[in-house]
Symmetry: D3
Subunit: 69 residues, 6 copies
């Protein structure tokens, strides 16, 4: 499946923290940068996300802000 989202960033799952309905998944991408995602618990199970597994952080361009010092 090819996706319109402009940002499909490869990485490795560092941790999965499940809440009651929402899980936080931390993904280490190139350069040691860590990206945090909030997805449903259901998605965690369906994708079989586990620590150490390969995963992509996927972000629509319109959801990316820019900041400067």
């Amino acid at each position: 499946m090819k996706l319109s989202a402009r940002n499909v960033v490869p990485g490795k799952v560092l941790s999965v923290t499940k809440g009651a309905t929402t899980a936080h998944v931390r993904i280490e991408i190139a350069g040691g940068q860590v990206v945090t995602s909030a997805i449903t618990n259901e998605a965690v199970e369906e994708l079989g996300l586990v620590e150490g597994g390969k995963a992509y952080a996927v972000i629509k361009a319109s959801d990316v802000m820019v900041a400067v010092d």
Copy 2:
């Protein structure tokens, strides 16, 4: 200013492409990964975003999806 967004990723502006109201800003982050952002033209001017300038890609955790092959 400290922000609740979990993802504040440092990088360098690769390009700024202005549309009629919306601009696309490409930011190179660690490891050569490129992140594309869609922000208002007004924000581009206010932040003084130019090619080669330092900038952060800022993304709320709830806007990050996860994918696996």
Copy 3:
């Protein structure tokens, strides 16, 4: 690629309207319902989106609101 987004809805492209940087893509899904998406012109080209083509509307659960009369 399997995606954490809970909503991956199959349909057919009805129209593609390109702006300066942002395109509006209308997708007809089951029951004749039409879903409108706003994505980058770049994504339209990369995905080869054309009228009549098969496509999915993909929506993260946290981006879906609910309303009642």
Copy 4:
């Protein structure tokens, strides 16, 4: 109230699953397609969302991605 969101899709509530603060509401729309929404528990109560009740899935065009096989 008329809303700028381009996608206001009528359907029927299939299930409501409350977490600690976030609830997942599954809505069956035309053609048997199911849309999952993540909203606050507070909104579930305020809208009186119950299984079998009529509801709309409301989605801003800029939150809809497109994918192709």
Copy 5:
């Protein structure tokens, strides 16, 4: 129509700036605060948005970040 979005803020339209596909609508809310929205040109026409008209800024709680100095 009652909406799950937690933030439905009444105000007055200050300006409407149409791009090729996306319009920026500035709404003055209580206390003189101005909120900027990016919606489709189509929505501007459908809602009949004009300077001085009454309008609400509608924002899902999961789209609101928090910052501190």
Copy 6:
């Protein structure tokens, strides 16, 4: 840090309600209007958000919808 988000609205924290992973923060802005935000528990701790504290509600323009009666 200067942010591309068009809406940085000053206010005072009314309440913080933590869930398992997601917290709801209500902020009173000018004119007594209350804005509800959903952020991670981690962000609440990192920003030291407490009732009565000063805080900004930060919202990207593309996440603001418009409604009319």
